[in-house]
Symmetry: D2
Subunit: 270 residues, 4 copies
C-alpha cells in the first residue's frame, strides 16, 4: 500500500502528474468588463438559497473577458507557455448572504483543461469554450491603442455556436473597473454522489478573494453586446435592458485559497 | 431565494445549462486494448491505501483507446454530433480491495469537456488530450479491414507533446478483450478543500460498472507501443517489460451510477 | 546551388517535408449527401464563365459531409491517424462546359491542413472548419443503425459560427447517392500574382475524377437542413426551396491527377 | 455566365467569401528572433537554384516566433478577434540571387487558415502548427517584464509532436533584432500541375517586403533552443552549432504585394 501525492488527481508517488499544481497560483493579464442591467428576476432565478438578490441594482450583471497568463510558484509554466496562457469569459452578478454582499459567477467558459478544473476547485462552474479578445498594440495598424477611440472586440463560442459578441470603445482613463465583480466571490461547490440519486456527496458555500492584486492601466468606455441562444446554454435569458459601462484593465493577482462558509455532506461510509 | 436544478454546475432554474445531463449515459464505440507487464513496483506506487496490488500478475496494465459516441436519455446529442463524439486514452491496472479484485484507472485523457467532467464524476482522473485511433473501413484502401492483417495506429498527446504511440495488427477473431480492464472499477473521488490546506472536503472510494453491455466484433492481435516523457506526466514510468496481447472490440454500454465504498468528509460547517 | 524535391512546399533535399506527399492519394469513408433545389439564380451567380448553368434542374445543389481516412501510397499515415483522419463539408452543383455537364464544388470546409491544401491542388476552394457527422454503430444505444429509422446529425462551423446544421433519417436502402455530385468535377485553380494587382499568375479550368471507386452500404432518407449567416460566408444565399433527397454511403476512392482544360498565364519573366 | 470576384477562392458574385480579403494587410505584434549557426551544408541543401548561399556566415539561421494581430483595410477583423489573432513560428536564412542578398523562409507553421493561405500567396511554405510564445506583462507575477532578466518560452508543435522549444532571457535593450531576417525576402511560389506529373503549372521566384514598418520596444538576450524530430519534418537537420543572439521586438508592418523576379509557366491551353 502506497501513499500518493498531488494537489489534484491523478495522485501519484511524486505528485508530478496532478492536473493542478498546488496553490498559490499567479495570474497576469487583461480584463474587459461590460456591465449592464438585465431583468432582475432572471438574476434571481440563478441565486440558490441561502443566497439572496442584492439590495441595490439586483439586475446588474457583468460579462467579462480575461486574457491570462498564469503559473504556480515554480514559475515553470511561464517558459512552456502552452501551459500558461488561456482566455476565459464569464458572467458575474452580485448577491447577498447573511446580510453581506458578494460577487457571484453565474456562467463561465475557459479554453484550457487546467484552468477549467482550477475553476471547479474554486467554485466556478467552468465549461470549455472558444474565447477571443482584441489586444491593444503599441505599433502598427492592427490593433487599438490604449487611448480614447481604441476599439476592441470580444467573443465567446461553445460547441460550434457563437454565444456572445461584444464591441468596446475606450472613452477615457478610469480609476475603477466597475462594481459588479468587485466584491469577494461567493460560490457553490457541488459534487454529486456517484450513486447519481440526486444527492450531493458534498455541497459547499465558499468565499474567496485573490491577494496581492495589482492593477495597471485602466480605461472606461462604451460598448454593445449581443447574446445568442444554444440548446445547452441559458445566457440568452440575461438580455441587456440598460447598459451601464465598460472597462478594460490590466491586472495581476495571486490566489491561495478560500473559506468554506457552509458545508453539508452525505453520511460518512466505511 | 430560488431553487436551482441540474445534475452538475452551472445549476439554473431549468437545469438546461448543466455541463452534464443527468444519467443514464449511453456509449457506443470501438476500443483498442493493449496489455503488457511493467515493473510491478511502478504499479504499486500508484495504488493508494486501502488498495493493494493484485494477487496475480501485479505488473499487468492495459493501455486503451476508445472512440466513442455517447448521449443522455434524450438522445439529442446524437443529432448534434459535436456534443456526442469523443476519443479517450487511458491506462488501467488491477488491484485488490478488501480481498476482492477490481480494475483501476491510473491515467486518462479525453478530448471534450463533458467527457472530462463526466469522468471526474465517475472517479476517472481525466485530463484533456489529443487522442487518435485508426478506424476500420469496408471499402477503399485507406484503412484496415476487420480481419487478420488489419493494421491500426493509436496515439496520445497532451500540451503539444506526444505521450504514447502504438501500432496493432489483427491476427485472429477473439472471444474476449483482455483481463486487465475486465473487472468492476474502483476509483478515488477527491475534492480538495477550498482552503487549499492539504485536506480534502471529501475523499471517496467508489466502485462502478456499466450495464446493458453489448459487444460486437472482437479481434486479437500483436502490437508495439512507445511511451514518451513529459514534465507533467508520469506515463513513462510504466514502460513495458513484456507484451501480453492486444484486442480491438466494438462495444456498447450504459452507465447510471456507482456505489460509494468509503467516504471521509471534512467537518460539516454552517 | 541545390536541387530540391517534394510534391509541394516546403521543398527540400529529400522531399520529406512536403505538406503533401505525391499522389496517388487513397480515401475511405462515409458521405452524407443532402440534395435540394435553391434559387437557380443563386447558383448561376457562382458559375464564372466559361461555365454555364446545367440544362436541367439548374437550382439543384448537394450539401455533403464526408468523414474520411486518407493516405498516400506509403500507407504510413494510416498508422499515425492524426495524419489520416479528417472531415469535410461542401456544397456541389452541376454546370455545363462546352456542352458537357460536370459537378462543381462551390464552397468547402475541412479540418486538417494537408486536406485543405490537397484540395487547393485539386481546385477545391477549401477553408478550415469544424465539421461533425454522426457515425452509425452496431452495438449499444449511442448511434444509429444502418437501417430505416437510423438518424444522423451533421453540422458545420467556421470562425466560431455555426453555418449549417442538418438531420437525416434513413428510409430505405438505395442503389445510388444522388445526381448532383455524380459527374466529373470541373474546378478553377487560381493563383493571384504576388503583385496583388488583380491579375492571376495562372488561372486554370481543370477536370478531375477519382479512380478505383468502391461503394459500400448505401441508404436513402429524409432530411431537414438549416443554413446560417456569417460576415465572411455566403452559404445562406443558397437557401432550400424544395428538398430532393438524402443519401448515406460508404465509399472508397483513389486520386492521382486531373486534366487541365484551359490555362491562362501571366507573361513569363526572367 | 457570371463574373465572380474575390482576391482568393471561393470567388463569388460579391467577393465576400474569399478566404483572403484583398491586400493591403496590416500586422501588429511581437517577434522573438533566435539566431544561431548551423552546418552551412544543411542550409545550402534547402536553397534551390538559382539561389546561392550567402557570401558571409552561410550557416546563420533565425528561428522566429511571431504573435500577431492582422487585418485588412476594412479593419473589421479587429473587432472579431478570432479572425485577427494568430501565432506563427518560422525559420529564416540568408541567400544570394543575382549577386544580391535576401532573407529566405525555409520552414513555417501558423495556427489559422487565412494566415496559412496568405503565406502561400506570399511564397511562405506554411503548414499548420501549434505555436506558443510567452507574453510580457506589466503587473502581477505571471509573466516577464520587458527588462533585463525577463524570461520567455517559445514552442512549436505539429501533428501532436513538439518540434521546437526555446527559452530566452532579456539582457539589455537593443537597437536591432538581428541580421538574418533583415533583408527583403526571396521566395518560390510553386503550383504543381493538376496532372500530378512532376511539372508545375507555374513556378515563380518572388521578392517582397512590408511597408510602413514601425518598431517598438526591442531587447536582446540569451537563449537556448532544442529541435526535435518528426517523420514529416526536417527541422532537426538544422541543429545549432553556435548561438549568435536573441531578440524580442514589438513590430507593426503592412503588406501590399511583391515583385515577380522569375516566372516559368506550363504551356497555355484552351
Amino acid at each position: 500500500m502506497s501513499e500518493v501525492k498531488g494537489f489534484l488527481f491523478p495522485r501519484t508517488a511524486t505528485g508530478a502528474s496532478s492536473l493542478l499544481p498546488a496553490p498559490p497560483w499567479h495570474y497576469s493579464g487583461a480584463m474587459l468588463t461590460l456591465e449592464y442591467r438585465t431583468d432582475p428576476s432572471a438574476v434571481a432565478e440563478l441565486l440558490p438559497a441561502p443566497l439572496e438578490v442584492a439590495d441595490d441594482d439586483p439586475g446588474a450583471v457583468a460579462v467579462i473577458w480575461a486574457d491570462w497568463q498564469s503559473c504556480s510558484d515554480s514559475f515553470e509554466e511561464l517558459v512552456d507557455p502552452v501551459r500558461a496562457q488561456y482566455l476565459e469569459a464569464f458572467v458575474v452578478t452580485r448577491c447577498k448572504y447573511q446580510g453581506r454582499h458578494y460577487s457571484r459567477c453565474l456562467f463561465i467558459w475557459v479554453d484550457r483543461d487546467y484552468a477549467m478544473v482550477r475553476g471547479h476547485h474554486q467554485g466556478y462552474p467552468k465549461k470549455l469554450g472558444s474565447v477571443h479578445l482584441t489586444r491593444p498594440v503599441s505599433v502598427g495598424k492592427a490593433g487599438p491603442r490604449l487611448e480614447p477611440g481604441g476599439r476592441f472586440g470580444a467573443t465567446l463560442a461553445a460547441y460550434d455556436r457563437r454565444l456572445v459578441e461584444a464591441r468596446f470603445t475606450i472613452t477615457q482613463p478610469s480609476d475603477d473597473a466597475g462594481f459588479v465583480n468587485a466584491l469577494p466571490m461567493v460560490h457553490h461547490r457541488w459534487m454529486p454522489a456517484i450513486e447519481s440519486d440526486g444527492t450531493d456527496s458534498v455541497g459547499e458555500l465558499v468565499t474567496m478573494s485573490g491577494y496581492d492584486a495589482e492593477v495597471g492601466r485602466t480605461f472606461a468606455g462604451d460598448f454593445e453586446i449581443a447574446l445568442f441562444d444554444s440548446p445547452v446554454e441559458e445566457l440568452a435569458r440575461l438580455q441587456p435592458r440598460e447598459l451601464i459601462g465598460g472597462y478594460w484593465r490590466e491586472i495581476g493577482v495571486s490566489w491561495r485559497g478560500g473559506t468554506t462558509l457552509e458545508r453539508r455532506t452525505a453520511p460518512a461510509i466505511g
